[in-house]
């Protein structure tokens, strides 16, 4: 274990998240058993007020988780100097078997918590809180995710041994390997760009349709999911090459370093936010018929789709500017 301030901060964040997740799950069980919005009883009133607390706490944890995801990656990147053979976050995450699972779980928590918050926000605008049971069933599912994430992160930090020789990103993101990272790396740059472009068109088209028709947002969410996969593939396969001005450097983490102007953050933040918003829109569209939400939902959906489209647009702009300013010529 390396006693470092960012690690201490991350562990603190994880501990707080765990406490909140556990409490919310326990409270979720009580909601599932005792929720009856029509009742004017004292118990129901208390339950309602507690859902307010749960929303506040979960929102708090959500903000922490977003910041913690950034801090986790940033810190992994910084600690690379401590490990033999590591050059960026990949090396740090590869020091033991828990590094990458911890990252993936953190990302999963990010998406789950975003969806939960979107659900929560809409639910509280419906005069009979129509989604409350669903919301707290969701909390029951998210809690294990948060706990596992925190446990994996702890295992990762405890297992950081500086004398382990770890593998650098050049060994992981190379077409010569097996596995999904290698598959993504091995995708031909032109294919990846076409795929990304098509996914972008699909996002724009389904977004426009769902804005115009005020329905079919689930299609938009689907397009957003495809776009996410396409974007990650394209980043590994081709965009990174443009950033590094190097035809063989595929690492998606070195993008986050100062040498490259922190361009990784400009890519990942809008991409993740845009995907989460699109998925949120898709999720909400399932409740379009629910009585008390009928007045609230269309506006909320429109705002979500717009926000998501703006995020996707930002991502596209960053990609284009990276390609335009690069000295690397891949095509023609």
């Amino acid at each position: 274990m390396i006693l470092q301030t960012p690690i201490l901060a991350l562990l603190l964040a994880a501990a707080l998240s765990n406490a909140v997740a556990l409490w919310t799950a326990w409270f979720g069980l009580r909601v599932l058993r005792g929720w009856d919005i029509a009742s004017g009883s004292r118990a129901q009133l208390r339950l309602e007020r507690r859902t307010g607390l749960a929303s506040t706490l979960f929102g708090f944890v959500m903000l922490i988780q977003i910041a913690a995801l950034l801090l986790f990656v940033f810190n992994a990147d910084r600690m690379a100097t401590l490990f033999v053979g590591a050059m960026c976050a990949v090396g740090t995450l590869n020091v033991n078997a828990y590094g990458f699972p911890a990252l993936y779980l953190k990302i999963a928590v990010f998406f789950a918590a975003s969806l939960w918050l979107i659900l929560d926000r809409v639910d509280r605008q419906g005069r009979d809180y129509p989604l409350t049971r669903l919301k707290f069933s969701g909390a029951l599912l998210i809690a294990p995710l948060v706990l596992t994430g925190a446990g994996t992160e702890l295992a990762f930090f405890l297992g950081l041994k500086t004398d382990v020789i770890t593998s650098c990103c050049s060994k992981m993101f190379t077409p010569a390997n097996d596995g999904i990272a290698a598959e993504m790396t091995g995708t031909a740059p032109a294919t990846a760009l076409w795929f990304l472009g098509l996914a972008g068109v699909a996002v724009a088209a389904t977004g426009t349709v769902s804005l115009a028709a005020a329905r079919l947002q689930w299609l938009f969410a689907l397009a957003g999911g495809v776009f996410f996969a396409a974007a990650l593939t394209a980043i590994v396969s081709v965009i990174s090459l443009y950033v590094y001005d190097h035809p063989n450097h595929h690492c998606p983490f070195c993008l986050l370093q100062r040498e490259y102007g922190y361009v990784g953050y400009a890519l990942y933040v809008p991409l993740f936010a845009g995907t989460a918003l699109a998925m949120g829109a898709g999720l909400l569209s399932l409740f379009a018929g629910t009585g008390s939400l009928a007045t609230v939902l269309p506006g909320a959906l429109r705002r979500l789709v717009w926000a998501s489209l703006i995020c996707h647009g930002l991502f596209g702009a960053v990609v284009l500017s990276v390609i335009a300013t690069s000295r690397l010529v891949l095509f023609g």
Partner: protein
Amino acid sequence: MISLRSVTKLYNEGRPNELRALSDVSLEIGRDAVTVFKGPSGSGKTTLLSIVGCMARPTSGRVLVDGRMVSGLPETFLTEERRSTFGFVFQRFNLIRGLTVAENVALPAAPLGPDPRALAARIETRLEALDLADKADTPVEHLSGGEMQRAAIARALINDAPVLIADEPTANLDTDLTHRFLDIVADLRAEGRSVILSSHDPRIWQSDLVDRVVGMADGRLAEVAA
């Protein structure tokens, strides 16, 4: 129009000290009127006022405001209904000490996100109408009883609530100030607001201003006089 249908309110439900504050009260209160609930202390006046004013939810029964059911609403929405319809003047005024009159009057507007200059202008007008303009920047603990009540009335009306609810408004006032209060009620009525009072003060329910007196005893309506 506020309708109560078989409203019952229990406190400390299911505990040994359970208290039945209201039993099976049905009542309609019209707009553009001054209504007084009269009755001895402990008769349920205050509880009834808090249910009429959407401050508390009934244990059973229904409450409708202008035809909208509010009794099943979650607290947040009930608060929204209350904010847009009712202004409260409490028996002990409940001004917040340490703040000035103007700051106290501004409080109910805060959750609505007011424009500060427009709000300041509104407060000034309201305080002028109540002869409190020169006290705007005085901390409330330096006010006399009558001034405190007028500050509380200004606060109750700052969101332009159509209904003013006052609990025992004259309990702490001498005769002069009681008349002063009734003048204000007359003004409010002239502005087209309705006023709902609870009082065991005959000076109030014998006043010409009052359109309707509702008697209460032991949590039930006792007699209804016009």
